[in-house]
């Protein structure tokens, strides 16, 4: 009884954590499902068919490919723009800082539906109603990923020890050398984290994308479409893969930073 009282909060916390994983178990389970009918969504039997034939519905794989493509380009764009802005905000002083901070903050606080519909209003107003598609999605994704990149890189940069850079310059490193040999490697984990966040935000976005996509279909839009008329089990294969890949990346990063911390110590 005493033991229970002492560990009650931890047990409750672990229960909440288990709860967050329940749908993931279902996704993994359903990726091995052999459905009796496409219309009834339940586990009927075990098969490897879905894993061996991931592209049974070519529409799914082309939507997936498009999402990856948009995700990579949006990540590159938002990471570059956002990192530059983070350096400006942490390392430079200029008029309009608070306006800039507000401008960065607002897209994270605005409801997606409002952001998406404003962007659509702009595109239609500017006469691009017929050109909605890949490029308008990409523009939108860079826009909403940008703020998250700035915030992530900014916090890494702000928490950084200046002394290492001072030391480099005391030892006659040029500003350029100092930047590439000291500053950049120290900020890099933050930039990498921001890039991963951007990719997952872009890859997973539905509401903004759906408004600005025209006839183009991304992976979430494909899932939305088939949700009404029967979901192919391969969707769960993709869901499982996304989970596994992100776990590998995150745990790998964690182990790597532990190893480095030990090497430094």
């Amino acid at each position: 009884m005493n033991w229970l009282r002492k560990h009650l909060v931890l047990i409750l916390g672990l229960l909440v954590l288990v709860y967050t994983f329940i749908p993931i178990f279902v996704v993994v389970l359903m990726s091995f499902n052999d459905p009796a009918s496409r219309l009834i969504y339940r586990f009927d039997g075990f098969t490897l068919h879905n894993w061996l034939n991931p592209c049974e519905d070519p529409a799914m794989c082309s939507a997936l490919g498009r999402s990856v493509e948009i995700g990579l380009l949006a990540t590159a764009g938002s990471t570059i723009l956002g990192t530059l802005a983070a350096f400006a905000l942490v390392r430079h002083d200029f008029r309009g800082r608070s306006t800039a901070n507000l401008l960065i903050f607002l897209p994270m606080a605005a409801p997606e539906i409002v952001m998406g519909s404003s962007l659509l209003a702009l595109f239609v107003g500017a006469g691009f109603a017929g050109q909605l598609g890949f490029w308008t999605i990409l523009i939108a994704h860079i826009m909403f990923c940008l703020s998250f990149v700035v915030v992530t890189v900014r916090s890494r940069l702000a928490g950084m020890d200046d002394n290492l850079e001072q030391a480099a310059m005391d030892l006659y490193a040029t500003p350029r050398q100092t930047f590439w040999k000291v500053t950049f490697p120290l900020v890099f984990p933050g930039i990498l984290g921001a890039a991963l966040l951007s990719f997952s935000l872009s890859f997973d976005d539905f509401i903004v994308t759906n408004l600005n996509a025209g006839q183009t279909t991304t992976f979430p839009m494909y899932v939305w479409g088939v949700a009404q008329r029967g979901v192919p089990m391969q969707v769960n294969v993709v869901g499982t893969m996304m989970f596994v890949i992100s776990i590998v990346i995150v745990v790998g990063g964690e182990l790597n930073s532990r190893r480095r911390a030990r090497a430094l110590a």
Partner: protein, 301 residues
């Protein structure tokens, strides 16, 4: 890593004054691309939305709209879609309350009880949410299905009637919202709780506060910044979401986001869609301002 990226255009960053912030043009130049992008694709669109919401509703997207400052659009859409609008705010608020309870327990456990497993637990909090939002929500559809384990159990203990169901009810929609937006609550709460000096809590118990009183007098007030930003970061997307309502609910649980979406893409009624979007934005901003003032904290993130 650094040498591989050595050709990137970052090289002219002036590091001559590392301590303290440097004044000069470089700051503007670094900020400019991001500021332009957000200006053109976030701020200007907002003006387009305001303009669209005031267009003459008799136009169409093919013939074009006339700007008539038709403020009546707002009144009309409010009349027509009051149900989904209020429902969205209501579902968002209930889901936020559930998230606060679940999220607080989890964040507290990670910050104070996880010890050396702290980082691992934090990673595990985010990990499930890397799987596609829609795929996750679909799996809730399976979990809450009519002949599923959850419904059968609830029927067996007579919480639900023998023909009771969860899918296509507000319960399923709120459950989906709670689940999907939980990390937005946990992370800010954790950041706040993790900063609390544990000695303050010990001091409270030394002074004979029982754990519950100690919690409400010490821990809770000190975690308020996290509570405020967590509830905002959960409520805003939850109220605007329509994926959960559409996949787990029925037309009776339709939320405002779905109305806006279909007014834009199916009905092509841009002025009404714009006005409804504006109303949602105005309500949310008003609520946020009142809430932040009442909570007495300006610290949002």
């Amino acid at each position: 890593m650094a040498s591989a990226a050595g050709t990137a255009p970052l090289a002219d960053v002036d590091m001559s004054t590392v301590s303290g912030r440097k004044r000069g043009k470089t700051g503007y130049l670094l900020l400019l691309p991001a500021a332009i992008w957000l200006g053109v694709f976030f701020v200007i669109p907002f003006y387009s939305l305001v303009a669209t919401s005031l267009f003459d509703p008799s136009g169409s997207d093919s013939r074009g709209y006339d700007m008539t400052y038709h403020v009546a659009n707002y009144w009309h859409v409010f009349q027509d879609y009051r149900g989904p609008l209020l429902r969205s705010l209501w579902y968002g608020a209930i889901a936020t309350a559930f998230c606060l309870v679940l999220g607080y327990v989890l964040a507290y456990a990670i910050a104070f009880k996880a010890g050396r497993w702290k980082n691992l637990m934090l990673v595990l909090v985010i990990a499930p949410f890397f799987t596609s939002f829609l795929v996750r929500t679909l799996s809730w559809k399976l979990i809450l299905a009519d002949d599923g384990f959850v419904v059968n159990t609830l029927q067996a203990v007579h919480v639900l009637g023998s023909d009771g169901r969860l899918l296509a009810t507000p319960v399923a929609v709120v459950a989906g919202l709670t689940y999907n937006f939980l990390p937005f609550m946990v992370l800010p709460l954790f950041a706040s709780i993790d900063k609390i000096d544990h000695r303050l809590i010990e001091a409270a118990s030394d002074l004979y506060a029982n754990p519950i009183k100690g919690f409400f007098k010490v821990t809770w007030p000190l975690s308020l910044p996290g509570v405020v930003s967590g509830t905002l970061l959960t409520f805003i997307p939850a109220a605007g979401d329509y994926i959960n309502a559409q996949l787990l609910g029925s037309p009776n649980q339709r939320m405002v986001g779905s109305v806006i979406q279909s007014l834009f893409t199916d009905a092509n009624n841009y002025p009404a869609a714009g006005a409804l979007s504006m109303i949602l934005m105005i309500i949310i901003v008003a609520m946020v301002l009142v809430y932040v003032r009442r909570a007495g904290t300006e610290e949002l993130l």
